[in-house]
């Protein structure tokens, strides 16, 4: 295609070149590109999708996680960064952080858990409706981290809650948290209707 350069052509010449280009499109583009799925009957094409119920439900759960708005320490800022537009967790369908544990199904334990906070965390976990998942984010939630030997810190949140995914780091970057969420997705897709979070019965 010819490049229109205003310093070489006069404006009138440029207009004429543009007009010729549009006319050539107008003359040549008369028929539509064919639809590749045209051979399928329209009723079938619209209405049939083959899958299993387990996978369909697990997929729906996986792509609509409502996380609990729940930050304990500095890891919470990485979690906020993950939710904001730069890292954009909306891509995974979990942009709505819920204040109420009744409406949430993922608890991200972001930060240091102290013994004085432990009963409150357990209560919030018990208030969440089944099925529910827990991510332990950061060294403190995984194992107590730097404060493991301290008099006031729980050495690992798995002493008070069952944890599905552990994300190490101090704090982990938002990409790390997103990777942990994709691992959680991989776990969720394996769930069935009667045993959604693959707990041992």
């Amino acid at each position: 295609m010819e490049i229109i350069r205003p310093d070489v052509f006069t404006p009138q010449e440029a207009d004429q070149a543009e007009g010729q280009l549009i006319n050539s499109f107008f003359d040549n583009c008369t028929s539509q590109f064919p639809d590749p799925a045209k051979w399928i009957d329209e009723e079938i094409h619209r209405n049939i999708l083959l899958t299993t119920v387990d996978i369909a439900i697990a997929w729906a759960r996986q792509r609509s996680i409502f996380p609990l708005m729940f930050g304990l320490a500095c890891c919470a800022f990485e979690m906020i960064g993950m939710a904001a537009s730069r890292f954009d967790v909306s891509r995974f369908g979990m942009d709505i952080f819920r204040w109420s544990p009744r409406q949430a199904d993922l608890m991200i334990v972001a930060g240091t858990v102290t013994w004085k906070m432990a009963p409150a965390i357990r209560m919030v976990y018990d208030q969440m409706a089944e099925p529910k998942w827990v991510i332990a984010m950061g060294a403190c939630a995984v194992s107590g981290g730097t404060f493991r030997e301290s008099y006031s810190v729980v050495p690992g949140v798995n002493r008070i809650l069952p944890v599905d995914v552990y994300i190490p780091g101090c704090p982990p970057r938002p990409e790390g948290l997103i990777y942990g969420i994709t691992r959680l997705h991989a776990k969720m897709i394996k769930g069935t209707i009667d045993n959604p979070n693959l707990s041992l019965k």
């Binding site: 013994w115 004085k116 008099y151 006031s152």
Partner: protein
């Protein structure tokens, strides 16, 4: 900028009013005997020219031989400040008089010091643990804890 008053001058002034109260004083701070802490606090708050009406913080340190309580006083009226200290020489059941009646700001910080260092403030209206839970054994900021 708040002017940090010379501790020696304040120490001389206090020694005139309470002869037995001042243990030592230097450029930075005044160390008083804990028996005379309450009258000294009232004096520092109400004497014109000093008028320390604002207590920035109370804190305490464990030096193994003794426990030291530190008060930072500020006068918003005269824009000057002073560090006041007192010591407690026993480790089991140390007791110091409270300054809550003079500066209300000491209320929670004296409770915190009781919680973490085990210093009882005599006359405090509610001497309970603040940060740790009831039933916790020991006082974790003491040097001999664990």
């Amino acid at each position: 900028m708040t002017l940090a008053l010379n501790g020696e001058e304040i120490g001389k002034k206090l020694a005139e009013a309470f002869p037995a109260a001042v243990v030592s004083s230097d450029k930075l701070n005044v160390l008083v005997d804990s028996k005379h802490l309450q009258p000294v606090a009232e004096y520092l708050k109400n004497t014109s020219g000093l008028e320390f009406d604002y207590l920035t913080f109370v804190t305490a340190t464990d030096y193994l031989d003794y426990l030291e309580i530190v008060y930072r006083l500020v006068s918003l009226k005269n824009n000057h400040s002073l560090i006041l200290k007192t010591r407690c020489h026993t480790r089991d059941n140390p007791v110091v008089p409270t300054v809550v009646n003079t500066w209300r700001a000491a209320y929670y910080q004296e409770r915190e010091i009781f919680d973490l260092l085990g210093i009882r403030f005599e006359g405090h209206p509610d001497m309970r643990r603040l940060l740790l839970w009831e039933g916790f054994q020991g006082h974790p900021l003491r040097r001999d804890y664990l």
